[in-house]
């Protein structure tokens, strides 16, 4: 699969404009479309319902994720919240306990008001997942590897079980991208991306993508996309398509650097713990190897306490200290104050998100430059602590 994946990125079926032969999909800013024959309406009538540039992106993500249809949204959260609209008042969901903070907030502060409740469980433990099942349960929502402590959930067995129970299984595939993991081929019904991250890859566009395995669900998701209208803008659709072309080379380079940095960090006395699924002793290492083609470019590490953490953030020179991930630039995030700030402290700490925890999204800088930078920042903070 991965051997022709890079080719698919460049030569997806929407890559060449049929009218002019343009090798870069044109940006159609038109909001409305002339109908040449009123008896046989064209594919496009109004830009919310469909746009040629957005369609090129949607078809591409469907192709890469091996689904039947794709949908593009104005953000990852717009994609997630639109998909959750598949559920109805009274439904119950089972959700990975260390789900992204924004998803956690949407579930707990918005979706619950519509009478849809959920149970957060450790989805790495099948027994706990099964125990959470109620007669009202309609969906299973998984992030793997989880954010930020990179716990691996077994997609094959979870999705198989979900199917047996008649649940819709939804996987957030933002961390690995279809280059490294294709959940629809492992049994998931829906895959979601914050395309702001690796898919687009340049920290310059906010976008969400959804790919769906079968026609019946695709029809419902398509209906919701048009009814809700939180679609991706045309310029942004084009930018995501542009970013996608280098997804493979970016993921390969970043993953390779992440592996080296993870192993290096593990040997630093100032680092208490490193979370990385590429370690052979990581509890999810084997499952990861069985369902993904790599370990990705995100790792987390714990420096022990808040004062050390603050020193590190002050001293690093290369990675930008920021939220988000998946870019050409390395990004050092501080989850307890950033991605998971919307989660209550006790919930956070239950998930290992301490005041000493960092998440590093490894970019495309030279790996030795990154290590040298982390080294100076860690040694400075060590001495200042002493």
């Amino acid at each position: 699969m991965s051997s022709d994946f890079g080719t698919k990125l460049i030569h997806h079926k929407m890559a060449v404009d049929p009218q002019t032969g343009a090798s870069s999909t044109p940006v159609y800013l038109a909001s409305t479309y002339h109908q040449f024959d009123i008896e046989n309406p064209g594919i496009f009538d109004y830009a919310r319902s469909g746009n040629p540039t957005r369609l090129a992106l949607e078809e591409t993500i469907a192709e890469l994720e091996e689904g039947v249809a794709g949908y593009a949204y104005s953000s990852g959260m717009a994609a997630i919240s639109s998909v959750f609209m598949l559920f109805s008042n009274g439904d119950h969901l089972i959700v990975s306990e260390d789900v992204y903070g924004g998803t956690f907030r949407f579930l707990n502060q918005v979706l619950n008001r519509m009478g849809i409740d959920c149970t957060f469980v450790d989805t790495t433990d099948m027994e706990k997942v099964q125990a959470a099942l109620t007669p009202r349960t309609k969906g299973l929502y998984i992030e793997t590897p989880s954010n930020p402590v990179l716990k691996v959930s077994d997609l094959r067995s979870l999705c198989t079980w979900a199917k047996e129970q008649g649940l819709i299984s939804i996987v957030d595939n933002t961390f690995l991208t279809p280059y490294l993991q294709r959940p629809l081929t492992l049994g998931a019904d829906i895959v979601i991306h914050s395309a702001t991250k690796f898919i687009s890859g340049h920290s310059d566009v906010v976008a969400g993508l959804v790919a769906v395995k079968d026609e019946a669900i695709a029809k419902q998701v398509g209906f919701l996309q048009n009814a809700f209208g939180s679609i991706l803008g045309v310029q942004d659709s084009w930018l995501v398509l542009r970013g996608l072309k280098t997804l493979k080379v970016r993921m390969e380079a970043s993953s390779k650097s992440a592996d080296k940095i993870a192993h290096w960090l593990r040997e630093q006395p100032s680092v208490k713990k490193v979370y990385y699924t590429g370690f052979s002793d990581h509890p999810g290492h084997e499952v990861q190897n069985g369902q993904a083609d790599g370990h990705g470019a995100v790792l987390s590490f714990d420096v022990g306490d808040e004062s050390v953490a603050k020193q590190l953030m002050k001293q690093v020179k290369l990675p930008i200290v920021a939220v988000s991930l998946g870019s050409v630039e390395s990004i050092l995030s501080y989850p307890c104050k950033m991605s998971h700030a919307s989660m209550p402290k006790e919930e956070r700490e239950k998930r290992g998100i301490t005041a000493g925890l960092f998440r590093l999204s490894v970019g495309l800088e030279d790996v030795d430059d990154l290590i040298r930078d982390l080294e100076q920042a860690l040694s400075l903070q060590l001495s200042s602590v002493e």
Binding site: T20, S24, V27, Y28, L29, Y33, F36, G42, F44
Partner: protein, 372 residues
């Protein structure tokens, strides 16, 4: 079809695949060939791009020319015409030409043996008086900048034709809404489309329109060869702006005419220059020492170069647009230190006048206080 209709409809029904009302922006640099020796009409972006093509066909149609060409700026549009001349050739140009064009002719073209002389050409007879055996073209701006002197394009073009010269008209100030030089006999029209055609102070672009097959082919060759083409996104933005050209031009004229009447009655202003249509006016204040105070005290009108946008701008030609013209040349043509040029926008004219009035009043008072 009326110009207003043509403008609004630019790009519509051109896209046959989807029927998109707004023509798409094609960023592609290369185009797939259906087969050996076959082409979709597009091969390489510099030569031809679908989005730029819509703009180029539209401006050719609107200016009543045979072919249109889009460039990355007004200056690059004019500069591409350089390729029409050879060392030893001579050009006659309007004497209060835009400073950038003057600089191009004097500091660039002259180095290659193409000389230019500047004269107050208002009609064919004026042109005749300045002809030399080497004269190959006449380049006019009408109304001129910033003196607002109107030249008779038809009589100039008719003498030029008789003498075998090219007539080139910079139509930036009036836009095709008020003036179509090719209909009056010109061979080439140039535009800084950054101005009225774009109209929103947000895109830099130049356009050229040619009349005649041979000339059009030559300019097409030069555009492709020198490569200063307009980008697809900017082509799209320009088309978007052009759709409201007629509405904007009418409002510019309405506002400018009213401001001209007010300024003529204002005791702090000596004289007002206006061609009667369009949004460009110039006026001289009583005393050059008022100028810095006036510019500082404007609250709505921006002190900035450029013109032709929806926002009103006030320019001080002596130090901005015409700074590259030597002082004695500049003053001879009337661009003195008391002269201000205003690009009247489409704000409410009452607000514009309030701002000018208060700034003139304060400027006069501050100047007098300064003198004490």
């Amino acid at each position: 079809m009326k110009l207003q209709t043509k403008l609004v409809q630019i790009g519509n029904r051109k896209e046959q695949t989807t029927g998109a009302i707004s023509f798409p922006v094609t960023f592609s640099t290369a185009f797939l060939h259906p087969g050996l020796g076959e082409s979709t009409g597009f091969d390489y972006i510099r030569t031809k791009n679908p989005t730029r093509n819509v703009l180029e066909e539209a401006i050719a149609d609107i200016e009543d020319g045979d072919q249109g060409f889009a460039f990355s700026s007004g200056m690059s549009a004019i500069h591409v015409l350089f390729g029409l001349f050879k060392p030893g050739d001579h050009i006659i140009a309007s004497f209060d030409l835009y400073g950038g064009t003057y600089r191009l002719f004097e500091e660039l073209w002259r180095h290659y043996g193409i000389t230019c002389s500047y004269a107050d050409i208002r009609n064919g007879e004026d042109l005749r008086a300045h002809l030399t055996p080497e004269t190959k073209a006449v380049f006019i701006e009408t109304p001129s900048n910033p003196m607002m002197i109107t030249a008779e394009v038809d009589s100039i073009a008719s003498v030029a034709k008789e003498q075998g010269l090219l007539t080139i008209v910079d139509n930036t100030f009036l836009s095709p809404y008020y003036q179509k030089p090719i209909q009056l006999g010109a061979d080439i029209v140039v535009h800084s489309a950054t101005k009225y055609l774009g109209g929103h102070n947000d895109v830099l672009a130049g356009l050229v329109v040619t009349k005649g097959k041979e000339l059009s082919e030559r300019v097409a060759f030069l555009q492709n060869t020198s490569g200063a083409v307009l980008s697809p996104m900017d082509s799209w933005l320009l088309v978007r702006g052009m759709k409201t050209l007629s509405l904007r031009m009418e409002k510019h004229t309405e506002n400018a005419s009213q401001l001209v009447s007010k300024l003529k009655e204002c005791s702090f202003v000596d004289d007002v220059l206006y061609a009667g249509v369009g949004g460009m006016i110039s006026f001289r204040v009583k005393d050059a020492r008022m100028v810095p105070h006036l510019l500082k005290n404007l609250k709505l009108i921006s002190f900035a170069e450029s013109l032709g946008g929806v926002e009103s701008l006030l320019t001080y030609p002596a130090i901005q647009t015409h700074a590259d013209i030597p002082r004695e040349v500049r003053e001879k043509v009337g661009v003195c230190d008391r002269l201000l040029r205003m690009s009247v926008g489409i704000e409410h004219v009452g607000d514009l006048w309030e701002d000018l009035k208060q700034a003139l009043q304060v400027a006069y008072t501050e100047m007098n206080n300064e003198g004490e």
